[in-house]
């Protein structure tokens, strides 16, 4: 317990620190980072649990990402997620980028098993949909492309 508290404090200290030099968008830490899931929940209540800590969004949208995101959506997501607000197997995607932090969305896509285990928001969705979101073998880079496509779906330019 003590150890967790210390970790939390350490994590909090880091999260307050000014941003390091901007990371290249393609570079993300290894998904199997050594930190325990508990620690990350404490650090990021709304960003979810996983490799994605900070996402920098650009405006206007990065069109290359949007089109890659669309292709991944059609192959791996469309079977369960509509682009409207209508729920199919999982929730519709309309306005998801307004409801959730980008990090939460990307962690949900890339680290779904841990999210369903530990993240309260993800668990609420499971109670609603009653089908566990499958691990669709999506890399962090893929998830970033999907996020851009979601932003486009939500009307961002």
């Amino acid at each position: 317990m003590k150890y967790c508290v210390i970790l939390a404090i350490t994590a909090a200290m880091f999260s307050c620190a000014p941003d390091k030099s901007k990371m290249n968008n393609e570079q993300y830490p290894d998904q199997s980072s050594g930190k325990s899931a508990v620690e990350e929940v404490i650090a990021n209540p709304t960003k979810g649990i996983g490799a994605v800590k900070n996402v920098t969004l650009k405006s206007p949208l990065e069109q290359e990402r949007v089109s890659r995101g669309l292709a991944i959506y059609e192959m791996k997501c469309a079977a369960c997620h509509k682009l409207t607000d209508q729920r199919l197997v999982g929730p519709g995607w309309k306005d998801v980028t307004k409801r959730r932090k980008p990090e939460w969305i990307m962690n949900m896509a890339t680290n779904v098993d841990v999210m369903l285990e530990k993240d309260a928001e993800a668990q609420k969705l499971l109670e609603l949909c009653l089908v566990r979101m499958p691990n669709q073998n999506i890399s962090v880079g893929d998830a970033r492309d999907i996020l851009e496509y979601m932003r486009s779906n939500d009307g961002e330019k």
């Binding site: 791996k76 369960c80 197997v89 009653l130 089908v131 691990n135």
Partner: protein, 662 residues
């Protein structure tokens, strides 16, 4: 020290009890002592230490067990159709079972050879032989799927196979039955001596892909080839085969092929054969045999008919093969980890001869021959002999080795495993098996680096070991601890099919490479639907192709209309899941076929020829989610002349259906 003392005390006590009870008839529960349960217990969620890849005999399959628990993990269909996953039933896998005799959906799988690098297991492939319709197969130890099957021409039955060289250069395939070969095959059976020939095929393995092709075939005198092993270390470049029926009997072999005191071990210098080939001395002869390959990116097998094979005649091309006399009807022919000793087990002999590779080489150099057999030099028995294990037991069959210089030989008739020292030839220990052991397996036992620890007995008779299930009983194996001086029976475990040879390999060499899913991005199946947007139905003449997707928990399309009687419908089902262990299944009413099972990211095809007008339900056959029972759909079949247009949908509620029934 304390525990050793304790154990000695315990053994003494156990001995005393056995001594007291020794007059009582023995029950099947005898012979298990001490901490056996502890040694085989693998706690829930924990892993076994070894994979045991076991032949399935007449079920034509390979099965995968954990050691020491004896738990069955997988049955891998190889030479037989398998309803559990649609192998040999799905359109993609049917070509794997094609042969020069057409589609052969069942064979007899006897022996396993795991791929090796530098004499040690490398965890890449498992090879197996098809005994009846002569074939060899290669199974990937990443996907645990049969990736390739190669038929063998001029073979009467592929028993002496698929033993492997120390760098997986070759696996061999020796015919069990000699038969007439070539153009003149319609001959009297009684002309065996003149017309019947044996062949040994050396199958070359591509070091990167594992792809097999027949490097060359040796023509041999007409005898029966039984088993084989490659040399290793100093004897690398040589292969040793046991031969029986050197009497060349063609009827009542039980009597007529057991006349001579000695048959032969055949030593083959395959490097010499390679030299002759390099000199262009091989002869290409016409042959017809199938070569079947699974394409990993299309998930589809194809079958090609081959037309020729390269043959060498060792009666003309000298120094390729030599015979060594061996008592009596030899069966197992096993090289020890050092590569120096060749252990030959005469099924009917009361001793085990052990030959020395060094002495064989010297005898050949000195031309220390006792004569010729069918044009092949026969080395003098004594000149090749390291020594004999005297009175080891009755009916020796097979020998495996540990890392300490010991051999473990199975005895069918006296139903026991006998441990003996390879160099001193001294018998060290014996344990009974229940009952009538055939093959046996020490992890890494046939390699240059055995892992020891266990020996597994594959028994031919089960009798009273398990709850009876009518006349047909389970097949059985038994696990023994060989880490101490005395072998200790730990466990009985049932097996599927009749287990012949098996190999065991440390889990650490296989487990990290195990494929979890097929990446949907890399699926190049021509009928794949990579996403629901690509799901569709197309008509090509009277063929209807359904590009269907499956994901928890719906099929797209799930309403199909416009199929007519006389059509042949192909359901190409792509599993869109990308998560480990989420297969979907597919079945449709009236399909004269098994269901298919589709792994994540894979596409598999079920062919359906509707035979009546109406609406046929289809559904997912593998319980996939809480809404698995909802994963279903309908296909409408209309009369042959009907003008119902082809259409398909999912989730579309038609107007007429919306209005509630009055």
């Amino acid at each position: 020290m304390k525990s050793v003392n304790k154990m000695i005390a315990f053994l003494a006590l156990a001995g005393a009890i056995v001594a007291v009870n020794s007059c009582k008839p023995k029950g099947p529960q005898d012979a298990v002592v001490g901490n056996a349960a502890e040694k085989v217990y693998v706690a829930p969620g924990k892993y076994d230490e070894f994979y045991n890849i076991v032949s399935g005999g007449f079920n034509g399959q390979m099965s995968v067990y954990g050691i020491p628990s004896g738990r069955l993990f997988r049955i891998i269909p190889v030479f037989s159709q398998f309803p559990e996953n649609g192998y040999g039933f799905s359109e993609e896998t049917k070509p794997m079972l094609m042969t020069s005799h057409g589609f052969v959906p069942w064979d007899d799988l006897h022996h396993i050879a795991l791929s090796e690098t530098k004499g040690e297991h490398d965890g890449r492939w498992a090879f197996a032989n098809g005994n009846n319709t002569p074939r060899v197969a290669r199974v990937s130890l990443k996907t645990f799927k049969t990736e390739e099957i190669l038929e063998l021409p001029n073979s009467g039955g592929n028993h002496s196979s698929p033993f492997i060289t120390e760098n997986s250069e070759y696996i061999v395939a020796g015919t069990r039955f000699s038969v007439p070969v070539g153009d003149n095959r319609d001959v009297p059976i009684s002309s065996y001596k003149q017309n019947f020939k044996g062949t040994i095929s050396f199958i070359k393995i591509d070091p990167t892909t594992g792809r097999m092709n027949i490097g060359f075939q040796l023509k041999t005198p007409g005898v029966d080839f039984d088993l084989s092993r490659a040399g290793k270390g100093p004897s690398h470049g040589w292969f040793f085969f046991s031969c029986y029926n050197t009497e060349q009997a063609y009827t009542l072999l039980e009597q007529n092929a057991t006349q001579k005191d000695k048959d032969f071990i055949m030593a083959v210098n395959w490097k010499k054969a390679e030299e002759y080939i390099a000199q262009g001395k091989g002869e290409k002869v016409k042959a017809k045999y199938a070569h079947n390959m699974l394409n990993e990116s299309t998930h589809t097998a194809s079958s090609e008919m081959m037309t020729e094979v390269l043959q060498l005649d060792p009666t003309v091309l000298k120094d390729i093969i030599y015979f060594i006399p061996c008592p009596k009807s030899p069966h197992g022919c096993d090289t020890d980890p050092s590569g120096e000793y060749i252990v030959a087990s005469g099924k009917l002999a009361a001793l085990i001869p052990v030959f020395s590779f060094t002495k064989i080489q010297k005898a050949i150099a000195d031309k220390d021959f006792e004569g010729e057999y069918a044009g092949i030099p026969v080395i003098k028995y004594e000149s090749a002999l390291h020594g004999e294990v005297k009175k080891p037991g009755l009916g020796p069959l097979h020998t495996e080795f540990d890392e300490k210089g010991n051999a473990y030989t199975s005895f069918f008739v006296s139903s026991e495993i006998v441990k003996w020292n390879v160099k001193s030839l001294e018998v060290l220990d014996r344990v009974p098996t229940y009952y009538s052991i055939g093959h046996l397996c020490v992890p890494g036992g046939p390699t240059a680096k055995p892992h020891g620890k266990y020996v597994i007995a594959y028994n031919k008779i089960t009798k009273d070991r398990y709850l009876p299930t009518g006349p047909e009983l389970t097949q059985s194996a038994q696990l023994y601890d060989i880490s101490g001086d005395k072998m200790q029976l730990l466990l009985d475990f049932p097996t599927t099919g009749e287990p012949h040879y098996a190999e065991a390999i440390p889990a650490s060499l296989v487990m990290p490479n195990s494929t979890k899913i097929f990446k949907i991005e890399e699926n190049n199946h021509p009928y794949a639907a990579k996403g629901e947007k690509e799901a569709k139905v197309e008509r090509k003449g009277n063929e209807v192709h359904v590009y269907m997707t499956a994901i928890r928990s719906h099929l797209v399309p799930d309403n199909i209309e416009g199929i007519k009687l006389g059509d042949v419908v192909y359901f190409h089902v792509t599993n869109l899941e990308q998560d480990w262990d989420v297969p979907h299944g597919f079945a449709i009413k009236g399909a004269a076929n098994a269901e298919i099972l589709i792994m994540p990211g894979e596409t598999q095809t079920l062919k359906w020829t509707p035979d009546e007008v109406g609406v046929s339900p289809f559904y997912c056959t593998d319980f996939c989610s809480a809404l698995h029972q909802e994963m279903q759909g309908y296909a409408r079949v209309s009369a042959a002349g009907s003008n119902i247009p082809l259409k398909f949908s999912t989730g579309v509620i038609a107007e007429e259906a919306k209005s509630s029934p009055k």
